[in-house]
């Protein structure tokens, strides 16, 4: 028994020594950037993380990308860890726009600049402490969806919206959409606005219920591609694909393909690569002592069938 214990200890000692040597041999970078986002299993954020890593490496910074699993408490802990190890900056995509404020305050007290991307921090005290926000112009993107809806319906008939009121960016999309309808003299009427919870399953179920109540709608705007695709499935199931046009949002790989297959009429495109590069650029400008705009919005663009046909990224299933 005694012999065994010493041998275990020896083995552990060797292992420890090896790991220590390994890390020292790795070589030093200029610093680390802590990045945490709401869901790293989402290809949108995975792409952002990859692009950020590459861009940061150009300036000798190492990116630590962590997944908050949509858990605000977990994200808060990750922010504390970034502060504890003295990261040069924090790139934050809040899992909860309010709760993330606590972590932002901690980072600010430690003199670590925070840059948010995609989703803004809305906590009143913490929002001014964020150095810069880089995200899609969701309101403008919503306007694009509204324009497409007007175009495709000819400004006549009943339409429905699949919203996602828990997420600020999705609220803005709906606001932009409605704004266009208000500003244009039109006979379009929004008869139903329900939450599709941003996913395919809920999009499908909600749309099925909508069609029960309003069988004569001519168009559906869904705040993202998954719920738009769910809506489309429900429309097909009801046999109304000739009557109802579905418009999505994001131009995600699945959305692009759906536009190409004419399941969706339009899907205003977001640009995760630009967002990632913009965030790193803002950080570098900050470190160079330049003025950085508090909010940097990347405009969305229409994504029609004509765009899908000549888009090489669609076939490669990329953003």
């Amino acid at each position: 028994m005694k012999v065994k214990r010493t041998s275990i200890r020896r083995a552990m000692g060797c292992l420890l020594f090896g790991i220590v040597l390994g890390t020292w041999a790795q070589g030093q970078t200029k610093g680390k950037i802590g990045m945490t986002c709401m869901d790293l299993t989402n290809p949108f954020f995975k792409l952002i993380a990859n692009v950020m890593e590459k861009e940061a490496a150009k300036y000798d910074y190492e990116l630590l990308a962590l997944d908050a699993n949509n858990d605000p408490a977990k994200q808060n802990n990750q922010l504390s860890d970034f502060v504890a190890q003295g990261c040069a900056a924090i790139f934050l995509n809040p899992a909860d726009s309010r709760a993330a404020g606590e972590g932002v305050k901690k980072a600010h007290a430690a003199g670590i600049p925070v840059f948010t991307f995609d989703v803004q921090v809305t906590d009143k005290e913490a929002a001014p402490l964020v150095e810069s926000h880089i995200g899609s112009d969701n309101f403008q993107g919503g306007r694009l969806a509204g324009e497409s809806m007007l175009k495709v319906t000819g400004g006549k008939g009943k339409i429905a919206i699949l919203s996602y009121p828990e997420v600020t960016s999705c609220i803005l999309r709906v606001d932009g959409f409605k704004k266009v309808l208000q500003q244009t003299p039109t006979e379009l009427k929004i008869v139903s606005e329900l939450s599709g919870r941003g996913n395919r399953n809920d999009g499908y179920n909600t749309t099925t219920d909508m069609l029960q109540a309003h069988s004569d709608i001519v168009g559906i705007f869904a705040i993202n591609d998954p719920s738009a695709l769910g809506a489309h499935s429900a429309v097909v199931k009801a046999g109304k694909q000739d009557q109802i046009t579905v418009i999505g949002f994001d131009a995600s790989p699945a959305g692009k393909q759906a536009v190409f297959e004419k399941k969706l009429y339009d899907s205003p495109q977001q640009f995760p690569r630009k967002m990632a590069k913009g965030t790193v650029d803002a950080f570098i400008r900050y470190m160079e002592g330049e003025d950085v705009a508090k909010k940097i919005f990347i405009p969305c663009e229409h994504y029609y069938y004509e765009n899908a046909v000549k888009d090489p990224s669609r076939e490669k299933e990329q953003w």
Binding site: L16, I19, N70, A73, N76, Y286, D291
Partner: protein, 447 residues
Amino acid sequence: MWKLKRDYGMLVVLIGLCVLFSALTLNDQMPEGDQAAQQVAKNLDAKVDKNAVILAVGAANKPSASFAGKANDLLQEKGFKQSRLVVGTPRDLRQALDQVRQNGDIVSAIATTGDVPEWRLIEILPEKYPEFASCVLETPKPYKWPDFLKRSNLLAIVDRIVVIAVIAIGMTMVIITAGIDLSVGSLIALSAVISTSLMKLWGGLEASGWIVLLGFLAGTLACGGVGAAGGFIVARFKVPPFITTLAIMMIGRGLAFMITGGFSIYQVPSSLTWLGQGRSMGIPNTVILLILLYAAAHIFMTYTRLGRHIYAVGGNEEASRLSGISVSGVIVFVYIVSSLAAGLGGCIQASQLNSGTPNMGIMYELYVIAAVVVGGTSLSGGSGRILGTLIGAFIISVIQNGMNLLGIESYTQQVVLGAVIVGGVLLDKARTGKKQTTRKAEKEVQR
């Protein structure tokens, strides 16, 4: 001593992990105290002309700023009349440099510490300000110290585990009775949502500390009530605890969403943060709370009659009944404690996040159970220690924190955490293996 080692074998694992992460996160640290400022001022005194322009630069945090302030004072004392203080972001430094350039002067030296030498502005200084190319960057001599053992990091370890550790107290008792409580994760959300909704209702942002306390009490007691109902169902109707608490888990989560309509509640008074983020006498309240709760629970489980009855019920329910213990009473009691602990955990989490969200605490029941089991409590009941659970909770926290410090990818982290839990328990089994097998044999004989 030998007994301590046998009882708390997992302590060895915890210490081993701490040593490992300390070694792996060993890093150059820049001193920031007054001594460092003196050192920098002295070095500059020897190097630079008295009429030269010197910038004492500090980042926008307390230690760095006070270093810069002190360095500037010392330089002024030594006769550097042109020494200036710059505290803030790279932008502030750029503005200071621009101003010096406008005055037609030359910056001869920058005295600084911490992360400032890493600022890109300092790196590109010779290109951006060619006239300052000869500028000396004076920093104190760095020393080696692990990021892991920095004070702020050790506090972060406690902060991240406090919710799980508090709930694990109740879970330990439940598991010692050979039960399980899957509802604690949902009860975190329920408690957080009830307490913050009440605070919102009773005054919102302007509510007083008493309202916060009342809200916490209401949230915790509501969970206690739920736990009492669950315990009653388990004890009276003999519904397996797994099923009962699974149902409560769903009900609790659903209620939390119903109460808030799916939104988070943030119209809460600022005193809400006292419990999870505040300090008393310089010590974080979470640390004090953990020490108090664990001391009380340890004494309760070791020295009181009811505490010993919990072990007895878990060891052999029938024998306990025959020896006159109210088995149902004990079972209802442990589920109430577990739910109260979950309710308190919810209050702490609400306080840490300054809001109440119905999706708080998802999967927490599994982390809590992991902490209890890693801490040496047997899932088959009858044995386990409160302090072992504390060690188990810290093992999980240290692993999570250490992996974040090392920058291990999120996907890999889950694999490592799972492996360490299994490895830790196996190691513990190997150490206490002999004892356990004899016990098992005894049980067999009894049957």
